[in-house]
């Protein structure tokens, strides 16, 4: 009875997104001739890459028990800064967005960890702030900085290796590094501990503030990097990008099996979550008659499904110790 339930929900938790992805891919391949073509799949891979990098940072933030709503704006800002910086060489094009976006993450982290403000409100403000900065340097969005097509920086976005674009390889490398960082290092353990029970983590000697600041810096850096790579791929810093990206990233992370309450989760799930969202999007585009708006409906429904499936087992685990005395609202 309940053990079976637990086993089933446990399996669904870890591999549900992967199963859904496999199923979607199979159905899509059978239904649409144009789906399983090299071009289309590469398209899915590249368009997933940027969101995936953002979702990677988001995974760390969410496992630590926080949330980062600023990533969409930071992504856009990163792209604009990279495009502007590309005039001064590829190094500036990469370093400028990383420095600025890392700083935004630092400010987020300090306000959250030191001033103890609610993460969602701080990063909400940062979302406005980052977009404000971006609009400010582009003359209210009127200027679009271009990346020279033959520059080294543009190659970073457009070059290919073994038929796959560089952004895809970079994303894969980042996920491997991210997985090791989260699972196999002391920093990663601290992220889990802080997200699982902040008070206990603090008493157990974890530097809670430093861990929190680190995850927001990481999230800012990755969002900025994703923006820069995207600019290199598009060869321009498009100012209207990134709106709603925080939602996509959060959806992907949650669908991938990371709990929004923190303390548990894994990066590979987030990658699967991103792929699932992007494949669904691709499929909806294939069905010519369907509006792309359906993708949002499907994402929303998926999010609800995942959350509903996951809520119960975790409440039980927490109830067992009464641990995790966090102030996040939890009804019941």
């Amino acid at each position: 009875m309940s053990t079976v339930n637990t086993a089933v929900s446990g399996f669904a938790r870890r591999h549900g997104a992967l199963l859904a992805l496999a199923l979607t891919v199979v159905v899509a391949s059978l239904s649409f001739d144009s789906f399983a073509t090299g071009d289309n799949l590469e398209n899915v891979a590249v368009s997933s890459a940027f969101l995936a990098i953002v979702a990677l940072g988001m995974t760390f933030v969410i496992v630590s028990g926080g949330i980062d709503l600023s990533v969409g704006s930071v992504f856009a800002l990163g792209g604009v800064l990279a495009a502007w910086g590309s005039r001064h060489g590829p190094l500036v094009a990469l370093a400028l967005p990383l420095v600025v976006c890392g700083l935004i993450g630092l400010v987020n982290g300090l306000l959250i960890a030191r001033a103890r403000l609610a993460p969602f409100i701080v990063t909400l403000a940062a979302m406005l702030g980052a977009r404000g900065i971006m609009l400010n340097i582009t003359d209210e969005g009127a200027d679009t900085f271009l990346v020279a097509k033959d520059s080294l920086f543009a190659d970073l976005g457009r070059g290919k290796l073994l038929g796959l674009g560089f952004p895809v390889w970079i994303t894969l490398a980042l996920f491997v590094l991210g997985g090791v960082l989260l699972r196999r290092t002391r920093f990663g353990q601290n992220v889990y501990a802080v997200g699982g029970n902040e008070d206990a983590a603090s008493l157990m000697g974890t530097s809670v503030a430093r861990t929190k600041v680190s995850v927001y810096v990481l999230s800012g850096l990755l969002a900025g990097l994703a923006g820069a790579l995207n600019a290199a791929w598009l060869t321009s810093g498009v100012t209207i990008l990134g709106q709603g990206m925080e939602l996509e990233a959060i959806s992907a992370v949650v669908i991938g099996g990371t709990l929004l309450t923190g303390g548990t989760g894994f990066v590979s799930g987030s990658l699967v979550g991103v792929l699932l969202l992007k494949v669904i999007q691709n499929v909806i585009n294939q069905i010519g008659s369907l509006d792309s708006a359906y993708q949002q409906v499907v994402s929303g429904a998926f999010l609800v499904l995942v959350v509903v499936l996951r809520v119960r087992p975790v409440r039980r685990a927490r109830a067992a110790t009464g641990g995790g005395r966090r102030r996040s609202p939890s009804p019941g």
Binding site: M127, G132, A293, P329
Partner: protein
């Protein structure tokens, strides 16, 4: 145990004395901010003190204020409603689709749509135990999608009734502002004088205590989100009337931000248990005035966003002491 608690209590008290200024700021800062901006504009802004200008400001602030009222209820119950912007979009789509039957039918359908979204939000939160931020996030994503599915692109509204509603007035007060005032009074009354209001505050303050006291926690929570959905739908209806167009792509984007800002700036703590209706009104007005001030002094919109970001952080910082109970 008691000893610890008492010690903690005394520590809190010193904290409060030390931060009397921030406490004052939280309580009255928003009104002070409004007064300062009014004075500033009276002196430095041309044509500020005109009836026309006030009418414009009132019409613009009305939807934000109406949404913020629902948000205040959600926050008071120790929750949040991120789906309000999408509900506005859904509302505008429904209005466009049903306007053929007259504006009142369209309004009714829109309100039913908003209530339905609220019902889903509330059920997820109250019955299944999903965190409010997640549940309403899902509806935020899905709701706008649904709005776009119903009405894929912008559609002009050519209904004389809607036009009158959007631009007409009663004794010089524009209809949208009038509706907002009525709703403010209604929500204020609900919070202060009704059983529902009291129960809502108790639930926001201490859910286990409320449950053990036999309060209908689930029903109240569902009501809260239904109210929020209905208010957002009304706001979407009014915005449609004012813009004379249904634009589900952009209507209500970032509205959840503005609403949360208005509520938080107005001194309602994010930790629940308190709803400040007057403060929320002042908060919405403050944001509106800030935007207007920057625009009238030829500062680009990006400055508005930066300013709003700063205002949010300052407001939350000031509210911090109270939040840490």
């Amino acid at each position: 145990m008691t000893e610890v608690a008492e010690a903690a209590g005394t520590r809190r008290r010193t904290g409060r004395e030390r931060t009397r200024l921030t406490a004052w700021l939280q309580e009255y800062g928003v009104y002070a901010g409004v007064v300062v901006l009014l004075l500033f504009n009276t002196v430095f802004t041309e044509h500020f003190l005109s009836a026309e200008n006030f009418r414009t400001q009132a019409v613009q602030v009305a939807p934000i204020l109406i949404v913020a009222l629902g948000m205040a209820l959600a926050i008071g119950s120790e929750g949040i409603d991120l789906s309000v912007g999408s509900v506005m979009a859904l509302s505008t789509s429904l209005v466009a689709l049903y306007l053929g039957y007259g504006p009142w039918v369209a309004l009714l359908v829109a309100v039913v749509g908003g209530a339905a979204v609220g019902l889903v939000n509330g059920s997820l939160i109250a019955h299944i135990g999903v965190q409010p931020i997640v549940a309403t996030l899902a509806l935020m994503v899905g709701g706008r999608g649904l709005a776009l599915v119903l009405l894929p692109q912008l559609e002009d509204v050519r209904d004389p009734g809607m036009r009158a509603l959007g631009s007409g007035d009663l004794l010089g007060v524009p209809y949208p502002a009038l509706v907002a005032v009525v709703l403010v009074l209604l929500v204020g009354f609900t919070v202060r004088r009704t059983t529902f209001g009291r129960q809502l505050l108790a639930i926001g303050d201490s859910r286990p205590a409320a449950r053990l006291a036999g309060l209908p926690v689930r029903r109240v929570l569902i009501c809260v989100y239904v109210c929020s959905g209905v208010l957002a739908a009304v706001a979407g209806f009014l915005a449609t009337a004012r813009l004379q167009a249904s634009d589900p792509t952009s209507l209500g984007t970032l509205m959840e931000l503005s609403a949360i800002t208005a509520v938080v700036v107005g001194g309602t703590p994010l930790s629940g248990g308190r709803v400040r209706v007057g403060g929320t009104v002042a908060g919405a007005v403050l944001i509106q005035l800030l935007t207007a001030t920057l625009i009238k002094h030829d500062l680009p919109p990006s400055w508005t966003q930066l300013a709003q970001a700063v205002v949010i952080v300052v407001a939350v910082y000031a509210a911090r002491e109270r939040g840490k109970r």
